[in-house]
Amino acid sequence: MNAPDRNEQTIAAEYVLGLLDHAENADMERRLSSDPALAREVESWRLRFSEFDDTTAPRPAGDELWRRVETAVADPAVRAETAAPAFTRFWNSLAVLRATAMGASLAALVLAVGLGFAIHAARQQPIMIAVLLDGDRAGAVVHTFADGRHVLLPLTSIDVPRGRALQVWTLPSRERGPVSVGLMNQARTLELSLADLPATRPDQLFEITLEPETGSPTGRPTGPILFKGNTASAL
């Protein structure tokens, strides 16, 4: 595929600006799915102009608007188009099966399709999990994936006083001591940075401490430990 010429580059930019008319816009959207060079051109214009978006002062959007979003996405017409998790789909297909009493061969097919989804989901399952606890209250889990990624998922809301942050640590070895792998100003899903550390072992400690907003000044945990837990291999 040839690189977009100057005219194509201009059309890509006009598309991003929202200046194309209906027909041109529809044509552009059709071509974008099959023309990677054009899609790259559009993306590069989006990134250039996104500087303007970043100059908007971020203000909290509020819970009221979130409730409207939640109501809208709960609408069955919307939900129907969303991919249900593999197991939900699996059980849904069983429910359909019972309700309509389909034949045995079709049942086998539906089961096979359900299992296919389940296996697909399993490939993206973590190989190790650490549940971070405060006593017997679970605060977060750390998922370790086969490709070396680590993702922390909060399980509860955590109060973070103004001017403070949550810092995530791991203990790769006793000799090395705790290493900071993430910082956030509120409990949220966070990809942890363990790329420079040895591969995570079973029974490796992860913990969350409360630290100053910009992270612990000493490079070691200084604040109270909120949640901690050790990795275990996922079944």
Binding site: Q9, A13, L17, A39, W66, V73, V78
Partner: protein, 187 residues
């Protein structure tokens, strides 16, 4: 850490967080949609408000955006572009369809404002170090205005022509030439 690399790191962290959350939205995880909302909805409302001028309409655009994000999270392909570009492209679409919906009357409060101050105030918010700002500032003021007002305030060719008091054909050719200069300047 200096302010610039600090904000670059923060941007990367937000991008990774949003991309991961979109992957979870695709599996039907409603909590992940809330993560995207908490990370971006405030800024999105600000972006939409510059185009729509009214808080209620801006919120409507944000709501429409999240419904579309939820419905089409599976189609987001990280290989094709940044997660935040994808989100803001949807937001622009939603805001523009409200703005250009012929079935409703939205008082055009942009009309009264002069092009030059609107353009300059949008430019002034860009960081001094911004390549976009530097390259836009090289353009003749009216040719700069057509690009800035189309992006930031969502003005159409017709609205630009009205505001600048020039024929439609002139606006179209200004837009094209400005985009060519920008492309050359920004590389």
């Amino acid at each position: 850490m200096d302010a610039m690399s600090d904000s670059a790191t923060k941007d990367q962290a937000t991008e990774a967080q949003v991309a991961a959350a979109l992957a979870r939205c695709a599996t039907g995880d409603r909590a992940a949609l809330r993560v995207v909302y908490d990370a971006e909805a405030g800024r999105m409302a600000g972006v939409a408000r510059r185009m729509l001028r009214r808080q209620d309409l801006a919120e409507e655009a944000v709501q429409d955006t999240f419904v579309r994000v939820w419905r089409s999270a599976r189609t987001y392909d990280p290989g094709k572009g940044a997660a935040r570009s994808w989100l803001y492209a949807i937001l622009r679409n939603c805001a523009l369809s409200i703005l250009r919906d012929e079935g409703r009357f939205i008082a055009d409060e942009h009309v009264a404002e002069e092009a030059a101050p609107m353009t300059e105030s949008a430019l002034a918010r860009l960081p001094e170090t911004s390549a976009l700002r530097r390259c836009l500032e090289r353009l003749d003021p009216q040719r700069r205005a057509v690009v800035v007002l189309a992006y930031v305030h969502g003005l159409s060719h017709g609205e630009l022509a009205g505001k600048l008091g020039v024929p439609l054909g002139t606006v179209k050719s200004w837009v094209r030439r400005s985009l060519i200069s920008l492309q050359e300047c920004m590389g």
